[in-house]
């Protein structure tokens, strides 16, 4: 594979910050190698201070690496060519509070070189997509955190970029909104978009990611597909209906006679999120 086949390619990426007064060095990212393929959903995981935001900023070109290199679709990160192909949703996005959602989208739309009818149509389409048509003309200072997050997502999608960087996209969003964002990520993936996102909600990452990287104190601890990382090797799982205690005993005896061992029998549980959404949508 050459570098054009990767949405993001980084090798030996290191970032050291110098603290302002003490001049102490702070290692934020330590020799990160990372390749994100086109069209995949890539999760960045790690506790606070693990280097997730630093990685995002390096992809955007807002900061420069101390050593190593990073490219976006084969272009140097931060170049105009790379920024034309990416959309970014920052963590806890903040927008000028005196503007309405429609005004903010118009403002950012003009900065991604949309204009006239094309801009107007795109803005309306995105307001509809993120579910804010009724609040589109209200000043953003009256918006809840979740609503701001949706506008943040809409501005990231304005120029229909091939790569989306989402920093904690569901922070502060209610479960229904969170589900909508998850569905949107999956819909964008179907359209061939590449998505890199960070989240503290591991279950959510598990639901949408093709591959994840786990960072800790600036170092890459793990990388791989969820199957590779999470499958318990040497064990299998069946989901059966109509399993009576007698039948269960027979199955256990059969398994034992064949040299296998029944490790656990339990009732499958529905997810709290599904249960909540079904309850409130009744």
């Amino acid at each position: 594979m050459n570098e054009q086949d990767f949405a993001v390619g980084a090798s030996g990426l290191t970032k050291t910050f110098t603290l302002e007064w003490t001049r102490k060095k702070l290692l934020a990212l330590d020799g990160l190698d990372m390749q994100v393929r086109r069209g995949e959903v890539f999760g960045l995981l790690g506790p606070n201070g693990s280097g997730k935001s630093t990685t995002m900023k390096l992809i955007l070109g807002l900061i420069r690496p101390t050593s190593g290199m990073i490219k976006v679709f084969g272009e140097p990160s931060g170049s105009l060519a790379s920024r034309r192909q990416l959309g970014f949703l920052p963590e806890n996005p903040y927008f000028p509070g005196f503007l309405s959602a429609r005004e903010v989208l118009n403002y950012y739309g003009k900065l991604v070189d949309l204009c006239g009818k094309q801009l107007r149509e795109r803005v309306e389409e995105l307001i509809e997509l993120v579910g804010l048509p009724l609040a589109a003309d209200r000043a953003l200072k009256t918006y809840s955190k979740g609503m701001l997050q949706r506008i943040g997502l809409a501005q990231a999608l304005l120029h229909d970029p091939d790569l989306l960087l989402l920093d904690e996209p569901t922070a502060g969003v209610d479960p229904i909104g969170s589900r909508q964002i998850r569905d949107l990520i999956l819909a964008l993936k179907k359209r061939g978009k590449t998505i890199i996102f960070s989240s503290h909600l591991l279950e959510q990452v598990q639901e949408v990611s093709d591959r994840v990287i786990i960072l800790h104190r600036g170092k890459k601890m793990q990388e791989g597909t969820l199957d590779e990382l999470l499958s318990v090797q040497g064990q299998s799982q069946f989901t059966v209906s109509g399993l009576t205690p007698e039948l269960q005993e027979k199955v256990a005896a059969l398994l034992k006679s064949e040299g296998a061992e029944l490790v656990n029998v339990s009732h499958p549980k529905q997810k709290l999120e599904d249960y909540f959404i079904r309850s409130v949508s009744k």
Binding site: K57, L60, L62, I63, R64, L80, R83, R84, L86, G87, F88, P90, P93, Y94, F95, P96, F98, L99, Y107, Y108, K110, L111, V112, D113, G152, Q155, A156, L165
Partner: protein
Amino acid sequence: MKNSLRHIFVIAGNTFTEAIRQKVLYVLVVFCLIMLGGSSFYTQFDFRGDDFKFMKDLAYAAISVIGLLVSLLGAAMLIPAELEKRTIYTLLSKPVRKFEFIVGKYLGLVLLLTLFVTLMAGIFMLAVWGHESSLTAGILKASQGHPTEFQQQMINEFRAGAYDPAMWQALVLIWAKLCLVTVISVLFSTVASSTVFIVSCTLFIYLIGHLQSVARDFWFSQSGGASWLTTAFLAAVSLFIPDFQTFNLIDEIISGNPVLWQNTWHILLYSAVYTVIALAVSALLFENREL
């Protein structure tokens, strides 16, 4: 190039909208309006026929001082706010160059100052017109509509004092001075994040700028007697700090001394050149700043 200009104008428009929705601006504008509106009130005291000179003195001082606060606070508040609230991350994730951001912010503030000076000039003109009308009406009433030659001369003098075309020259110079202060504030805001620090540094440069010509004359005239440190300091002040003393032409205009438009054009050209250089340096500094 076309895209760059478009980005600059879009950012300038947004900066202007953001600025005019700041409450602090309205406080300053109201304060200025009270001073301008009140200028005709003070003329009830005896100024020995110098009513309009007094009104101009007061109005230009009000526009200069309040305008200085607007230009000092404008860049010092708006640019660090973009960094603090991280709106700049969203903005620079778009295909926008950092220099477009800086120039756009500056032009937005220039637009704000233009509106401010125009609005204040309009209010001042109204106050002057009101006072001139009341003085003229008083004379006409006393003469029952048939002023004597002396009274007509007085009316003509009032009108000449009130509607002095040199007033526009003074307003243009005040506007240029405020734009120059703004560019210095923009320059500091590209390297610092604290509003207090940016305002203090800009004010410091503004004050030193009033002594720039003294430093320059001393630098040119010294004949090897001064230490290298003094020479370096004088050279730095002469080369890098704008000469705000040159705007003292405003005082000449207020005093009624004729000032050629040619001199005003020279000052405008000087301000424009300094602004372009300061914006280029700001863009360079901001380009290398990690966000």
